[in-house]
């Protein structure tokens, strides 16, 4: 299987192909990260799990469509960055803060660093949104499913109905978020902090 075929199979088969990748490179990756960065086994596993998530996310987001190197080189490249960040930012004896790391991966920009409070409000608003809206927006924004696929998965009449529902769900989510920020007296002044 070529590297591009592998990417295609991850895109179409999702977690099943990912599980196979996880197992295939795991031992070599863990051995390398323990030796190279003097990480504990637990830290190395955390770094590997984050690496696999980022790899999968890059494929799903369309950021990674063709590999110029091998999957192994790509994975080790991501892992190296995470291990270095870890060494730079965190205390060695404390477990890796994986959720914080993921939030920074999703939000952080040099001009607009992560605002933890705002993220918490967004999370609470999402929890309050409930089903099936939660699932619908996840299928759209995370799994990158088309309206036809969403319509099939959630049993809507047609893709237009799914699109209409998605707009309503997002409108409700924005309203919940605004209520949440207002209730907590957060001065949301639309300016990066």
């Amino acid at each position: 299987m070529s590297q591009d075929d592998l990417i295609q199979s991850i895109r179409t088969q999702g977690e099943k192909a990912l599980a196979a990748i996880y197992e295939n490179y795991r031992n070599e990756f863990l051995s390398w990260i323990v030796r190279e960065y003097k990480c504990s086994m637990d830290d190395s596993k955390d770094i590997y799990q984050l690496t696999i998530l980022i790899f999968y996310d890059n494929i799903r987001e369309g950021k990674l469509q063709h590999l110029v190197s091998s999957v192994k080189t790509y994975l080790f490249g991501i892992g190296k960055n995470i291990a270095r960040e870890r060494q730079r930012k965190e205390k060695r004896l404390v477990p890796i803060a994986k959720e914080k790391w993921l939030k920074e991966y999703l939000i952080d920009e040099p001009s607009d660093p992560l605002d933890e409070d705002l993220f918490s409000h967004a999370k609470i608003a999402l929890e309050k949104l409930g089903q099936p809206c939660q699932r619908l927006v996840e299928l759209f924004y995370y799994e990158k499913k088309s309206m036809t696929e969403i319509s099939d998965a959630l049993g809507y009449k047609n893709p237009d109905t799914a699109k209409n529902q998605k707009c309503k769900c997002m409108a409700r989510l924005r309203k919940l978020f605004q209520e949440q920020t207002t209730n907590h007296s957060t001065q949301y002044d639309h300016e990066p902090r």
Partner: protein, 247 residues
Amino acid sequence: MNRDEKDIELIEKYFEEGLSEPEAAAFDRRLQTDDEFRGLVRQEKYLVGAIRLQGLSDELDTLKRMEASLTDPHIKVSRAFDRRWYLLAAAVIALIVVARFALTPAVTLENLYQENFRPYPNVFEPTVRSTSRASERSRAFQDYEKGDYANAATRFQSLLKEENNDGMLLLLGNCNLLLDKSDAAIANFEQLGAQSPELAVQAKWFLSMAYLQKDDRTHALPLVEELAATDGSYAEKARAILKELAP
């Protein structure tokens, strides 16, 4: 459509990466000059971020469950050992070896199966947040995760009649192993090995487990030898089994 609605539509398009070049240029200009607009974009960024974090967290849980079923690799870290420590370590090893031969009962295939078999985790359809309309399919995975292997097997079997699915077949084989139905498990893993290149290694490993459970050394040994010769996830376990089986 009022101004806010138009802006929201534009922002949604931006997050869906659907803006044309001129639209994207106009969007960037407004970000620089319009505070209210910048605030709306920031709000959307955090909401989409929270949605995506939810998805990533679910997948992270799946990886954690999978990790829990794997053994740690043996890693050699070079350290400057004092000579005395080597002598002490050698003495301890010698003691262990003597004690092992003196006290350990003969290794049986059943023992090797019990020591090495761990059910494969459900990495195929996480049941973390099921919708209210739980289908037969999601109930099968839920049963498996709960450890209700008899029910899970019944459901997987009937689902597999409608759809040939590699993940379900792997978990059905695991259910059969856990229910001591070695022959059924062997049939499942042979079929899986023949039809799924992605799960071929897993199929081989669990097939070897099924033969160990059945006390069938003739069929188990070549499979374990094949796995031991690779550098995959099961190689280390396979090499340990071979060591135990050595005459």
